[in-house]
Symmetry: C2
Subunit: 425 residues, 2 copies
């Protein structure tokens, strides 16, 4: 019995109670949401940690992508980033390593990770080919599914699977006029495979096998958008939406098999197309949790993509996106370091919180209310400790300290809040 099967049967497993408690909603509500597929609780049957729920009616969650690359495969460096991401209170982590001993790195990260951990197994499948001096296109169903099972056995909680990159879609893409055909690594591996082998994507053709594995290990499927736009010029175009239609069908098949699934989304979307993208996903994928990668709202700000993605994430979340993948300032430039990871998680958490305010969550509003009350009282200790990043707030205030502790150096004695206190006294 999977979690979803239990919930469908009306049972309320312990994991559901824990999520309900942390969200301040009833266990019955969470049970219903999991049963219908509107909420996922990613946790491998071999893992144990305080669970989180992702989806409609629950607070917006954030994910931090970590992982080595061929140019920088340093486990200590990745562990430092993991520590930073956790201290900055990320809700989930993905290990996207593509350099070094992938299995060893995953093991180390899993052991140090008390939040849901996701991976993209096709990376490992492809890289094993390269390591064995074989062309990547020699991957086959066996190598793909055995990697997935290896990772599931190790305890991975959710996996990105680009099942929607079908043979038809690849043809449409290669015949089309997209500016940037593909920016998803996993997507590009599968496009190459499909195009070279002139065969159907194994993750689509053998989707039932994937569902079996997911059932066995209580693995949550994150249906990847291999053809997400990689520039706002391509946003909301035919390949993107065609893939989304397929992902909607795969969500329904997962639900029938009692497997938890969510749907990944862009990517690069201009501000005025974000609402459409969220509503489309919710409609085509029957309210499956929507996991957006940013989105960033312009392409011209490399070095500031924690900001371009905070804009897009806040907006997407406010329209119903459930899970925001952070984007760091290193995006489009290099692998992120510890500082970029910290700041990236903070920016994504700000976006998620802004979305939660728009979604009307009491807990979110209460935080702002407490902060505003402290401001009104000029209670600096309270303000600083309520800040999303108390250490940064303290450090910033200390750069130009005030003569009188009750105010700040922006307005000093001309503080409007101080004045109104005197007027009303």
């Amino acid at each position: 019995m999977t979690l979803m099967a239990d919930c469908k049967a009306g049972k309320i497993p312990e994991i559901v109670k824990l999520v309900a408690e942390s969200e301040g909603v009833s266990p019955e509500f969470v049970r219903g949401q999991v049963a219908s597929g509107r909420v996922v609780i990613p946790r491998n049957k071999n893992r144990s940690f305080d669970p989180i729920g992702i989806g409609q009616g629950l607070s917006t969650k954030v994910n931090a992508n970590l992982g080595t690359s061929r140019d920088k495969a340093d486990i200590e460096f990745e562990l430092a980033k993991l520590k930073a991401a956790l201290e900055a209170k990320t809700d989930a982590v993905m290990d996207l390593s593509t350099g070094g001993d992938l299995s060893a790195i995953r093991k180390v990260i899993l052991d140090a990770c008390p939040v849901p951990l996701g991976t993209v197994p096709i990376y490992e499948t492809a890289i094993r080919m390269v390591e064995n001096q074989l062309p990547m296109v020699n991957m086959n169903s066996e190598s793909i599914f055995s990697t997935i099972e290896d990772q599931a056995r190790m305890g991975v909680d959710f996996i990105t699977v680009h099942c929607g990159v079908t043979r038809n879609l690849v043809r449409m893409l290669l015949e089309g006029d997209r500016l940037m055909e593909v920016v998803s690594r996993g997507g590009s591996f599968l496009i190459e495979w499909v195009h070279y082998n002139q065969a159907e994507n194994p993750l689509y053709e053998h989707y039932d096998r994937l569902l079996e594995l997911a059932r066995e290990y209580e693995l949550t499927l994150s249906l990847g958008d291999g053809l997400r736009p990689g520039t706002i010029i391509d946003a909301t175009d035919k390949p993107q939406i065609q893939e989304l239609v397929t992902l909607g069908e795969l969500v329904e098949r997962a639900r029938k098999a009692d497997v938890q699934s969510m749907v990944e989304g862009p990517g690069h979307i201009p501000v005025n197309q974000i609402e459409t993208n969220v509503r489309l996903e919710k409609s085509l994928c029957k309210d499956a949790p929507f996991y957006v990668l940013g989105p960033i709202v312009t392409d011209i700000a490399p070095g500031y993509d924690h900001i371009t993605s905070a804009i897009g994430g806040a907006l997407a979340g406010s329209f119903g996106a459930d899970f925001l993948c952070y984007v760091t300032r290193a995006e489009h430039l290099c692998l992120p370091d510890r500082e970029s990871v910290w700041e990236g998680v903070m920016a994504a958490r700000i976006a998620a919180h802004a979305a939660d305010l728009a979604k009307g969550f009491n807990k979110a509003w209460e935080w702002d209310r407490q902060m505003s009350k402290a401001r009104k009282k000029l209670d600096w200790e309270k303000m600083l400790s309520l800040a999303i990043d108390p250490e940064l707030a303290r450090k910033t205030r200390a750069t130009i300290p005030p003569e009188k502790e009750e105010v700040c150096t922006m307005c000093g004695e001309f503080c409007a809040l101080k004045k109104i206190g005197e007027i009303k006294a």
Copy 2:
């Protein structure tokens, strides 16, 4: 004859042609917008610089607030911030100094400032009282208007005037249940004055005198929102909207007097109330240019308010706000330094650009298109030089440099764009 009078008379002054050229629109379009009050071109008759237009149909502009405080009154420090703001390409600057020799500071900043410069004259009026050991409430029409004239004579291009803080509004505010009654410094000075003197706000009572001064010096009025919400808890409440109704009336009187005017807006607004705020201003103020202060979308992120305001600014701009006042990471904590100013202008420019994409401006889309073409070609030199902050983009890329120059250390040889190039070759 003021600029607006000329435009109403069907003339196309040189300044209108310059704005039209820089925006890539017809001079006749700009003339019509200025005549109707939908666009302002702030430039004092005693000043000379390349003008900018602010308002409907033109690209979204950004402003950087500078200025000393009593705790930190250092001209060199302010000049360094001005230089940073200009290098970061701010469209306008406000000198909000409240410490040191206000007149001398303004002179130095005006001389070094080739973009529109705004001030809040009530600061100087109030501070002169304090300097003369007089209570602030001893200000009167004479001292208020003589300060405005002094500043206009010096060359200030636009001034924030809190004309909407009427006696009725102050009564409503003090009898009401706002969490944070006032966070506007100028607003708080006038509230205190009105409350103590039990008299009408001179800027409202003698608004015609203000219009005369504005006509004489070609001064653009920025109708301040003294009662803007200072916490999202108070957003879109009665005092805020009551003031906006008054500002709408004052816009109409300014237009009749051939005086350019814009309207200032919040402040603190949750994501889901931003559209309402912009549409309300455009409706009540007959499409007057909307100059928003941020807005920041949550109160809990001091130290990151360049991000919370970029979210709000992008969204406000996408719905029609015309002019975004930056907010730096120092906001709510201290006076900003050079680095905060630079980053604040960049964050506001990103928001303005995201808004311009949403507004459908070709020039904005072309920038993203060029960047995306460079990315597709893996043309790093082009990508880095097209970045909004080339120096930061270069520095960031150099933190973890790639072995092969054609890619970056995020994906390395597994670059999706590299792969699709090979597939299509």
